[in-house]
């Protein structure tokens, strides 16, 4: 099995800067990243990472990255669809972002945690 080719959907500048060739920038909040990922699932892309990766809550960190397969299949992957819909339901349940203002050092840490989750995923995908 050849390594999976993939795209990283992200609103995290640290992720986008690291994987410039294979990331797709979302200019929006964490929910917008999931909405874009759901759109791609509808087009036949498969989720490769869980959209709620990490135990940092989706209404806490403003950053979110999701990895999907690069090329769409001809059919929709219903496991991916179920997972992304479940993730969106969770985000909506937990409510709007908690913090109006995030101190710069905390903002950098939120980016770092999301980045390290992606690093862990990318290492796994390249095995």
């Amino acid at each position: 099995m050849s390594p999976e080719r993939y795209i990283i959907i992200t609103n995290n500048p640290e992720v986008a800067a690291c994987w410039t060739q294979i990331s797709e920038w979302v200019d929006g909040n964490a929910r917008a990243v999931l909405i874009r990922a759901r759109g791609l699932v509808h087009l036949g892309h498969r989720l490769l990472t869980h959209p709620l990766a990490g135990s940092v809550k989706p209404n806490e960190s403003p950053y979110r990255s999701v990895i999907v397969s690069q090329h769409p299949d001809t059919t929709i992957d219903f496991d991916s669809l179920r997972i992304i819909e479940g993730a969106l339901a969770t985000v909506d349940k937990l409510g709007p972002p908690r913090f109006r203002t995030i101190p710069p050092n905390v903002d950098a840490d939120f980016q770092l945690i999301d980045y390290t989750l992606m690093q862990s995923a990318v290492e796994s995908l390249h095995v």
């Binding site: 999976e4 989720l47 490769l48 990472t49 869980h50 959209p51 709620l52 990766a53 990490g54 135990s55 940092v56 809550k57 989706p58 806490e60 960190s61 990895i67 496991d79 179920r82 997972i83 479940g86 993730a87 339901a89 969770t90 349940k93 937990l94 409510g95 908690r98 913090f99 109006r100 203002t101 995030i102 101190p103 050092n105 905390v106 950098a108 840490d109 939120f110 770092l112 945690i113 390290t116 989750l117 992606m118 690093q119 862990s120 995923a121 796994s124 995908l125």
Partner: protein
């Protein structure tokens, strides 16, 4: 494999000129503890504080809680692969300073979480309020990367727990509990008429701040595997997990897992507890599929009739939990899941991020979104300003008087998914 846990009841902790245990009091040589922590050049300074049950003290942000122990007979030492050599543990005799703990705190990332109140309403939600805590407040050298900072504090806590545990080496325990586990085939044959039960122990393993170590190995680097219950009880698993304060398993939880204790207590009477499968919780869906496939296959190979599955964390591990459940159920192995809930502040929303009709027996440790107000404390050990940026807190959570309005998920161990809690709902 037979393990004796000799419990030395600790009723108080005090600073003293030497570290020792006398009349149920743990005396701590403060300078010696500072010296042990200071050996790590990544730590610039440390202060050692004490927090006893009932004191008006708040500890935050809590990273890990560790029970001091010493191996007095049998192979290996405490925390194998971390503090001691990687000998296999789980047999012989280990002395436990029961009622004492080492608590590590340090601001590794700016939104770090975890509160232990030693009195007041918050104290009811954390079992660690009932312990005599030796708290390490560690400050890193300037510019230390976060993963190094986490590793330094993790090792500091384990080393100090091992050091304090040594004080119990020659103390006669107040009670000795013995646990015996047999090799799989012998265990299965021991009670042929009872249903065979396996415990599937899910370990958080997603990356920085989300890791668990088994004999010193990062759990994400391993396929699911077998482990004797007594190995877990004897310190083979330690926490490197700093997020999700309410439902992460601290090292103390691993050392004292109530799932394992309760399974052993009813073993041979209600069922035949034949072993533990440890598995991980990873980021990619392929890893989740692989680990859950492997877990279900191992449990099937063991010949189990039923499995208890416990989760660690929230959100994406719900997917691992459901995968483990459905794959076991489809093999005819009935499951009981242990989890907690994020059901919204009103408790009305869907509790988990994933679900399946086969998950029809679930034990909950409570709703982490319930809101609580923690009154101000006279003394705060650690970094109180963290309350404004921790999970479950929000802008303005920390009031001018020092009180904190937040969801109970800010409290260390409050919805622990091993059921390690003093709160419960009972039929009356």
């Amino acid at each position: 494999m037979r393990l004796e846990l000799g419990k030395i009841r600790i009723k108080d902790v005090q600073f003293g000129s030497e570290t020792r245990v006398g009349q149920g009091v743990l005396y701590v040589d403060r300078a010696a503890v500072e010296g042990i922590v200071g050996e790590d050049e990544r730590i610039a300074s440390v202060s050692v504080e004490l927090a006893r049950p009932g004191e008006e003290v708040r500890i935050t942000p809590v990273k890990d809680v560790i029970e001091p122990r010493v191996k007095v007979a049998g192979p290996g030492g405490v925390f194998p692969g971390m503090v001691s050599k990687v000998d296999t543990v789980g047999e012989g005799r280990t002395h436990v300073l029961a009622g004492a703990a080492v608590v590590t705190t340090g601001k590794i990332v700016g939104f770090q979480e975890g509160i232990i109140d030693m009195t007041g309403p918050g104290a009811e939600y954390t079992p660690f309020s009932r312990l005599n805590n030796v708290v390490l407040v560690c400050e890193p050298v300037a510019g230390l990367p976060q993963h190094e900072h986490e590793a330094a504090i993790r090792m500091a806590g384990l080393k100090v727990a091992a050091y304090l545990g040594e004080a119990g080496r020659d103390v006669e325990p107040d009670e000795v509990d013995a646990y015996e586990c047999l090799p799989l085939l012998a265990q299965a044959a021991a009670y042929p008429d009872l249903p065979k039960v396996v415990y599937v122990y899910m370990l958080q393993s997603q990356g920085l701040m989300h890791d668990t170590y088994v004999y010193g190995v990062d759990a994400k680097r391993s396929l699911p595997t077998l482990i004797y219950p007594t190995e877990v009880m004897d310190g083979a698993i330690v926490s490197g997990n700093c997020v999700s304060a309410c439902d992460k398993n601290t090292t103390y939880h691993h050392q004292n897992s109530p799932v394992i204790h309760d399974l052993l207590a009813r073993h041979g009477r209600d069922f035949n507890f034949i072993g533990v499968v440890i598995t991980n919780e990873n980021v990619t869906l392929a890893d989740k599929e692989r680990s859950s496939n492997y877990t279900a296959k191992l449990v099937e190979m063991m010949g189990a009739d039923g499995a208890i599955v416990s989760e660690e964390g929230f959100g994406n591990p719900d997917a691992d939990l459901i995968m483990n459940c459905t794959k076991l159920e489809k093999k005819g192995i009935r499951t009981v899941l242990v989890t907690d809930e994020y059901a919204g502040q009103d408790g009305a929303s869907q509790s988990l991020a994933d679900a399946n009709p086969l998950a029809d027996a679930v034990v909950t440790a409570g709703n982490a979104n319930e809101v609580i107000t923690l009154p101000p404390m006279k003394k705060v050990i650690g970094h109180p300003e963290a309350a404004n940026v921790i999970a479950g807190g929000w802008d303005g959570s920390l009031a001018a008087d020092g009180s904190i309005a937040a969801e109970i998920q800010v409290i260390t161990g409050c919805t622990n998914e091993l059921g390690f809690s003093h709160l419960s709902a009972r039929e009356i």
